[in-house]
Structures are given as C-alpha cells and as structure tokens.
Amino acid sequence: MHIIVKLFATLRNGRFEQDVLHLADGVSVQHVVDMLSIRSDEAAIIFVNGRHADPEAPLSDGDTLSIFPPIGGG
C-alpha cells in the first residue's frame, strides 16, 4: 500500500517534507514512526487524514500521516 507522510518543522531535518512510502498492508502508525527513526519524545502529535491517531492503529492504502514535533514556547 501507499502512504503519504508529511513531516513538520525540525522533523524535516535529515528526512523530507513529504514522501510517498510503499509499505506492507496494515502496518501501524508506530511502524512508520520507527522506520523514520523518530523518537517518541520528538513527536508531539500524529494525524492520519487530519485526525489524531493511536500509534497502534493500522494504516490503510492512501492514508496521509502527518507528524508534528513538540512546540512549547510562549
């Protein structure tokens, strides 16, 4: 299956802004995060098709996965 992955802010460093990944059917959100070597403390929120996703949720063909780093300044 094909998954569109969008990375934001510092997560783009050494990776990419947006890419299409070819993956085995049914892999989880966490699988993609691990594949991209994004540590748990580097990701604050993950959306699948614009909705907050459980890391264990399986992805479907055509899903868009967006990963954002923690932003905490005021």
Partner: protein
Amino acid sequence: MDRSTLTAFFGVHAVDGLISLAVAEQAMMAGGLSLHEVEDAALAAGYLPRRYERNRNLFSVEDQLRLHRSCVAVVGCGGLGGHAAEMLARCGVGHLICIDPDSFAEHNLNRQRFCTISSLGLPKADAIAEEMRNINPSTQVIAHVEAFRLNRAADLLGPADVIVDALDSFDARAELAAACRALGRPFVHGAIGGWHGQFGMQAAGSSVLEQWLGTCRGKSGIEEQLGNPSFTPPFIASLQVAGAIRILLGKDDMAWGKVFFCDLRQMAFDTGSLG
C-alpha cells in the same frame, strides 16, 4: 449621576452615536464614576466609545457591551501573553487577569511586546497592567505576580470567562487545561518555537486538549533548540485572541478540539482534529 441622566448626557454630546474620551471624562467628573462605569452606561444606552469606531462594522454595540463586561485570563505574560493582552484590550474586553511570576530580562527584548529598555527588571504582569491603562483605560487589569499553580486555579481564574494559555512548558499547560475543564471554562492554547507555532481550543467541560497536552508532559519543545523570533508570538497570539473573541461573542466555533500548525519559513499550514 444616574443611568437616565447619563443617557440624556450622551444623547446631547454623542456625535454619530459615538462618545469621545473627553465627553466620557466629563461624565466621570460629574458622576464620580470610573471610565469603565461610564462606558458601560454608554454601551448599554446604545452609544459607542469613539475608541471602538473601527470595530463598528465588526461588532454591534451589544457585542461591544458583551466584551466590556467580559473577563479573560492571560496565563503567562511573555511573548504570547503581552500581545494577547494588548489585542484583547484594544478589542474592548473590559477585564483582564494577567498571571506571570517573572520580570523582564534582556533576552526578552527580541520579542516580548512590553519588554523595553525602561521596563527591564519590572514584573511582566505589573508592566502589562500599567501599559493597558494607556492603551485602553476602560479595561480593568488584575496582575498576579506568581506562577500558575493548580491549587490556586479557582482563585486566579474564577472570574474569567475564557482562559488564554500563554505559558512556556507542557507540564504547566496540561495543568492549566485540567483547571479549565474542572472550572468549566474554555481554554485557548497557543505555543511557539522558532518559525513554528500552534493553536487550539478546548470547549468548556471538554478535556480534549488536556489529554493531548498530558501526553506531551516532560517533552522538550523545539523552541529550546530554535529559540523564538519577534514574528511568531503575535501571529499565534492573534489566533488566540480571535478565538477568545469568538467565544465571548457566542459564535459557533470551528476550532473546538482542533490543533492548527504553522511554519512561517516554509509557509506551510495544517490543521487536525483531536476528537
């Protein structure tokens, strides 16, 4: 001077439905009233302080009265909080509560609205209260020079209709969101880091941002690595103030339970739903 005498006075002195500051000051002197009280009476009688003339096509006089009688707590008076307080006062929000334990330091000069050479060393919350008297003297500001703590939430936030999160740590933000849920107040989140910012709103009684911010406890934000420039704080503070004004005016809101992200270097904007 009672309300009917005041209304008659406004009727004589209003120009095109507008009351100038000089006329309001005459009413203050004659009636022994504060500007806040005089403008409340003017708005209730359908007259608009001239200060809000350019709000006129955006907010009705009833809306303006509602803002005048509203209270917003700005928790954190640094980059986001200073801009938010100013914009809320210029909109005509009648009561502000500003909470921050810190004083202005040199490293705040690159972005914090009321940090100037002459305000260095002054408590931020006090400095904002003082500046508001010059920007909108009918806005009443209570300054609390202390850190927001959960055990003080009811005392600090009790009078507020809306709470603006302008803090700088995930732990404090998660506690503030929890306090808002417990007190039944809407929570307007904003955060910045480098060229990036985020904004979100939690409705009264909801815990959607509280739960998400709870998962961020202990994480370090990208601002620790990137710092913060002058232009992201007012951008995110604008989204927070627009959200707070929509809530105060009772508009249906499209932002509940959502988080908006911006990247001002790449001009990338994204919104997702937490619910």
